[in-house]
Symmetry: C2
Subunit: 334 residues, 2 copies
Amino acid sequence: MTNSVLVEVLRGGIVESTHRGAVAVFDADGKPVWEIGDTAQPVFPRSAVKAIQALPLVESGAADAYGFGDRELALACASHSGEPPHVELARAMLAKAGLDETALECGAHWPSSHGATLALARAGRAPNTLHNNCSGKHSGFLCTCVHSGIAHRGYVKAGHASQEMVREAMQAVTGAAHDADHRGTDGCSIPTYAVPLRSFALGFARMATGAGFEPVRARAAKRLLSACMAEPFFVAGTGRSDVAMMEAAPSRIFVKGGAEGVFCAALPELGLGIALKCDDGAGRAAEVMVAAVLAKLLQADQTLAAKLTEQANPPIESRIGAKVGALRPTATLN
Amino acid sequence: MTNSVLVEVLRGGIVESTHRGAVAVFDADGKPVWEIGDTAQPVFPRSAVKAIQALPLVESGAADAYGFGDRELALACASHSGEPPHVELARAMLAKAGLDETALECGAHWPSSHGATLALARAGRAPNTLHNNCSGKHSGFLCTCVHSGIAHRGYVKAGHASQEMVREAMQAVTGAAHDADHRGTDGCSIPTYAVPLRSFALGFARMATGAGFEPVRARAAKRLLSACMAEPFFVAGTGRSDVAMMEAAPSRIFVKGGAEGVFCAALPELGLGIALKCDDGAGRAAEVMVAAVLAKLLQADQTLAAKLTEQANPPIESRIGAKVGALRPTATLN
C-alpha cells in the first residue's frame, strides 16, 4: 500500500515538497488505538529504541553499581548533540567502569551541534568517540559488560553477549522476532533489525506501563523513561525537537527520534506507545508527525496541545531570517 | 497522481527509505523524450535555474565590460560551497563594479563545505555574505545593475528592475508564465516561481541549443552553460555531485542542483534538457535520479554510462567507514 502524505512543506502559499509516512499508536495490551498507513511494514528503528536497548544496563545492576542517576540513564538512551556536558558525562560513565574513550567502538564524528563543532574547531581540537551521538549508549553497553564480567572487545558485533542482551530485550519488549534476515548495521556499528512498525508502538506502551513485564524489567523500563523525561537535554541537546516536546509537558511525554525519519514515544498517563516512520527518512517531517500525533492524543490539555501544535508547524526562514514558508501536518494527522 | 518510487535507500539488503519523484526530458522543440510521473506539477526550481537567471549578466554586456571569463560566469550560476576560491572570486566580481560584500542582500551563512567551515572557525573568523552559496549569483545581479545604471539597493525584491530582467528571462526560456500567484521567496531572498516541471526541461534544451532564441540570447545561453561545464568547481565545490557529473564528461554534461530535491541538466550533443524533482525534497535522492537519467540518455558511451551509474549508486557508510547500505535507482529509471 502507498502511505498518505502526512506533512507538507510550503513556500509562500504553495506546497513545495511532501512527506508520506505511517503512524502506529498502541496500548500495552496490543490494541491499536490509532493507525495511519502501513504499520505492518518492517522498519529499522535506529536510535528511536535506545531506551529499550538500555534495559540491560539497569537490569544487570550495572547502573546501580556505578551510581548512575537520571542524567547518566538519559545519556544511555540519547542521540546527543556532542555538547560539552554530553561528552563529559560519557567520559565519566566510562571512568566508573575503569574505561576511557578508546574502548568505544562507535567511531568519531563532529558534533551534530553546529555550535559545539565551531567551539571544538576554534579550540584547535578534533572530535573523538565521545562526541559520537551514540557515545552514551555505547558507554552503557561497556559498563554493562564490565559489571557483568563480559570481555567488552567487539561489543558492537552481532552475536557478542552485549548485543545478545540487547536483542533479547528488543524481542521481549516488542514481541517481534529479531533475526539475522532482518538485520542491518547502524551508523554506530551495532546491529539494527527491521521489524513491523506497530511492534515498536506496542513496545513503548509496555515500557511506559510495565504491563506484561517481570517486575525487574518493569522497574527498569519506568526508570529509564523517567530519567529521559527528567533530563531531556541529555537525551538530545540544545534546540532539538525531542527536548522541546519533552519540556512541553515535564514527565508526561517521552519521545525519541532515530535516523531515517523514525520516532518512538510514550504517554504514561494514557498508557500509550507511539511509533512512526517517514517513508523518505526525513527528520524534519518525522518531527512534525510526532508533534501532531502528540497534540491530538493530548488534546484534552488545550494549553499543551497548542504548544505541540506550534511545534508541528515550524517556520522555514530565509538566510536573513524572514519567514518564507512552513511545514504543516495534513488533515490525516488531525 | 502519485509519483512512483524512483530511489530506494538500503541498509543491509533491506529497503529502509524510499523517494518518489518526477522526471522530464524534452528537446528544444518542446517534444517530450522521456517523462516519468507528474511533469505538469508546479515546482519551485530554486537554484537549479541559476544559469537562466544569469542571462541578463551576459546579455546586458556587463560580463564583457567587467572582463568575466568562465570562472566568473560559472560562479554566477553557482550554489558554491563557500570555499576560499569561491569567496575570493565573488569578492573580485563585486570589486569590478566598485562594490563589496555589503552590497549583497542574500544574507550570510556558514559555508556548506564542512572543511571551509572548520577552517573559518579555526582562524577565529565568521562567515559574511560572500560565503553565502548564492553570492556569485547575487554578484552577477549587482554587476548587471551597476553596468546598466540601475540603482541596486533592494535588487532582491520582486518588482525591482533586476528581478524583472530575471523574470523575463525565465518566462521566455521556459515558456511558462511567472506571475505573483506562483511566487515564493528563495533562501537568498529573491523571488522563485513554481511552474510546471516540464517547462524547465524545455528551457534547458533551449539553453543548450539556442533554438528559438534571438542570437544575443542564444550566444549568452551557450556561453553560460559552456562556462559551467569548463569550471564545474566554481558551480559547486569539492566533493559535490554536480562537479562529479560534469567532470565525468567534460563539456558534454551540464547539471545543476537546487534546494528541495530539484535538478536541471542539459546534454548539448543530444539537444536535450532535463528537469526533475524529488517529491520530498531530498537532495540525496535527486542526485541519484539525475545520475541515473544521464546514464540512460548517454548509454551509447558505455564508459561514461558506467561512471554515471556508479554515481547513481552511492554507498552509505557507518561512522567507522564500513559500507552498511546504499542508495539505488529503481527500475523505473533504468
